[in-house]
Amino acid sequence: MANDIVIAFGGAAGDGNASAGNILAQASARQGLHVYAYNSYQSLIRGGHSYLRIRISDKKVTNHGDQVTALVTLNQDSMNRHLSELVSGGFCIYNSDKLKAGTAPAGVQMCPFPFYEIAGNDALPVMQNTVAIGILTRMIGMDFDVLKSVFEHTFAKKPQVVEANVKAAKAGYDYAEKNFKPLANALGKTKEKLAFVTGNELLAMGAANAGCKVYCAYPMSPASGILHWMGAHGKDLGICVRQVEDEIGVINMTIGAAHMGTRAMCATSGGGFALMTEAIGMASIMETPIVAINVMRGGPSTGLPTKQEQGDLNQAIGASPGDFPRMILAPTSIPDCYRTVAESFNWAEKYQIPVILLSDLLMSEGTETVGVDWLDYEPKIDRGEMIFEYKGGPTNYYRYKDTPSGVSPRAIPGTPEHLYVSATDEHDEDGVTISDVYTDPIIRKKMVDKRARKMDALLKELPPPQIEGPADAPVTLITYGSTWGVVKEAVETLNKEGVKVNHLSIKYLVPFQEKEVTALLKGKKTVVVEMNKSGQFARHLRAEAGITVDANIRKYDGEPFEPKHVVAAVKEVLKGKTLVESQSVEPGWRTPHPPGPGVLSTSSTH
């Protein structure tokens, strides 16, 4: 734990926690330090409570950690909520002109700073954040010059802003040197070249890197980051970016574009995905390759717009009426978003199917340091069998030709001598519909079989799933998606404590690698760790592989798992529990509400 710290920024929406935290994180990344940040926020533009946790380490970190080393409180509420969470040896930084100190836990250093005395009487109030970052920089033993370089990079076009920030930060840094005791173990440096980036940014950049040329979306948290990235970069990269009137329009436009032969993508969250579902079936029966991202959040309905959940697996599996091939896959981490989106385009085009990529709030809005080498990557672009030009002679073209693989060479509209109409009605190989006048059970079966067959070939091509951790461990934790990063650390901790467990993270949900997964889990005590109430992923394992797991660890309170939750839950399971429902219990997560309109209001209840 020596060189692994968690710094939390607490404040109201609009107080600037995120930008303050971002500057610290970028400075850390520039020192080659690894960072993972999770922002717990509310669906509010101003006010409320927002809590950003940044974990910094000289080793790779894959989650936001269990406990808080340092707290920067930007308002009194945050002081009151979170001070008790600090670990011994930690510290709390606060503006003593504005805030009253709470009762510090044993071994916690309070670091009050008189803002106006330090920054000058004419300082803008927002500069308190900058002073606090200056103090932090000193407390964690980081070079001031690195912080300065981040201000210069962030405000490159506004030299006066750079100057004001550097001045305020330096004042804080110097004040800390005189008045506070820095952390015993200063953070070091590494030589790694790291970028600090969100999952949404990597989904967007990864799509651009894979040749996405049309991106359509309707704003929805927590997927909007992809739209914002595309909006900012589309013009330079030659990507047509459209904000559409609703998610129904979004996916239909995406399909229209993909049908013409361009790589097209759309993204949303669960509610928007619900509107898209009819068109998922259209993409499948018209054999139009699209990538549709669902960044899951707390549901159902509007649910918890800014909170974490893995509740949309059932929806993805059941999206759209009918029985048809689709692919569902889930990246396992922020860096994995970058390459998973690229491979999704290949699967979509090679097999002419809709690919549903399941991300979630934690992964999409979380920020992590990712190696520059990992990002500077040229993906293999495999577009499958496509026809772009007429090469002469009679073509006798069947768009939906019944081939052994089920994949029919796809002529791009506009190509001479390859005319066809694609219909959402069932159709024959030449595209003529067999739904109204020319009904035909023989052809219907042939076409259903042809499309379904594509999944067999796809399944054979998928890279095999792998166990992480000690192969001989008798217990296997099974996950999909972003829980990978938490469970990975929990598994390491448990093994250090002598509890032998390993980890199977499943990336490909549909089609499902039944044989491989069954073989890996043979003879193991199996435990699914997932973020929903009913155990959708455990049910999926049962449905696809006939595996009824021995125990389940679930969390559905809106806040993500932390390694400590999984460690504790596994111990419960080993004592015989078959279901552990984890919860974030620190009081700081909670915001009490006034009574509802039907409730008698008494001072004693609130």
């Binding site: 049309v214 589309g234 990507i239 009137e245 574009a257 520059v372 001479p416």
Partner: protein, 297 residues
């Protein structure tokens, strides 16, 4: 979009082997025949045409027209057609469907496609009834009309697509009648050549389920705007004509924006060169990637 007029082609070239499956006497036959003639008159190559429909009797049209086509979901022809146009802006894109498809379930896309001003032609075969589902009231059914779903008379108001189109900023608003195909053809050719979203609402009577708004009913009422000295560039005059319903119903071009702004596909920076769908070199260059990564370092 054809700017120079190509050599005219035979309308038969747009006729596939599969014959229409509409009821004998359906208004949609006229709509189809005229579309084939209009494309012939403009000399449009079949492989440069994309016809996109939704669902309904009239949305079966792409299956009876020789070109590339998409027979999409109910109400979704416009977003699909928009996607097609942005992916290949060099092709002529025609969207079509019925009144239920476009003005009912697809109403949101209808308004926004006009506001968005994507360069395509939208033909609505308006029969004031749901035909394929065997005769229920539609958004353009007259108030009081008895249908299977409103046996005591339609209690709801009748939608005015012409006024809506004008209000939504549509640059080309026209109305035709399937019973007057020469007149209709000129609306099509103008619409296809118009550099922006062009709407043609075509009275296309349903001979099976709409016993009220029949060919005869329309014949008695429609009059041609061009015979009444209507100024197609006058938006207010167009709005006044759009409100006419009853004894006198105008057909022809109601409005044609004399100074159209560039359509969204013409203005989009990504659509200035080779059509997106025709670009073969995909992905980022090393330099592009490096610049993007640099933002986060």
């Amino acid at each position: 979009m054809p700017t120079a007029v190509a050599a005219p082609r035979d309308a038969k070239l747009y006729k596939p082997e599969v014959p229409p499956d509409w009821c004998p006497g359906c208004g949609d036959y006229g709509v189809l025949t005229v579309l084939q003639r209009a494309c012939g008159e403009l000399g449009l190559p079949n492989d440069q045409l994309m016809v996109v429909s939704g669902i309904g009797c009239s949305s079966n049209l792409p299956g009876f027209f020789r070109s590339y086509g998409m027979h999409s979901l109910h109400g979704r022809s416009l977003p699909v057609a928009t996607g097609a146009k942005i992916a290949n802006h060099e092709m002529t894109v025609i969207a079509c469907g019925g009144d239920g498809d476009g003005y009912g379930i697809g109403q949101g896309h209808f308004i926004h496609s006009m506001r968005r001003n994507i360069n395509l032609t939208y033909i609505v075969m308006d029969n004031e009834i749901y035909g394929l589902t065997t005769g229920q009231t539609s958004p353009t059914s007259e108030t009081g009309m008895k249908t299977k779903s409103t046996p005591h008379g339609n209690p709801e108001g009748q939608l005015n697509p012409m006024a809506m189109a004008l209000a939504a900023g549509c640059g080309f608003v026209a109305r035709g009648f399937s019973g007057d195909i020469n007149h209709l053809k000129s609306l099509y050719t103008q619409a296809i050549q118009y550099p922006g979203f062009a709407l043609i609402d075509v009275f296309s009577p349903c001979v099976t389920f709409n016993k009220q708004n029949t060919f005869g009913w329309f014949k008695e009422r429609v009059y041609k705007l061009e015979e009444k000295g209507h100024d197609v560039t006058d938006w207010n005059a167009a709005m006044a004509r759009a409100k006419e319903w009853g004894a006198q119903i105008p057909i022809g071009v109601l409005y044609k924006n004399p100074n159209p702004k560039p359509s969204i596909d013409a203005a989009d920076p990504a659509l200035q060169g080779t059509a997106l769908a025709r670009q073969t070199k995909l992905g980022l260059t090393k330099e592009q990637r490096k610049k993007l990564i640099e933002e986060y370092v």
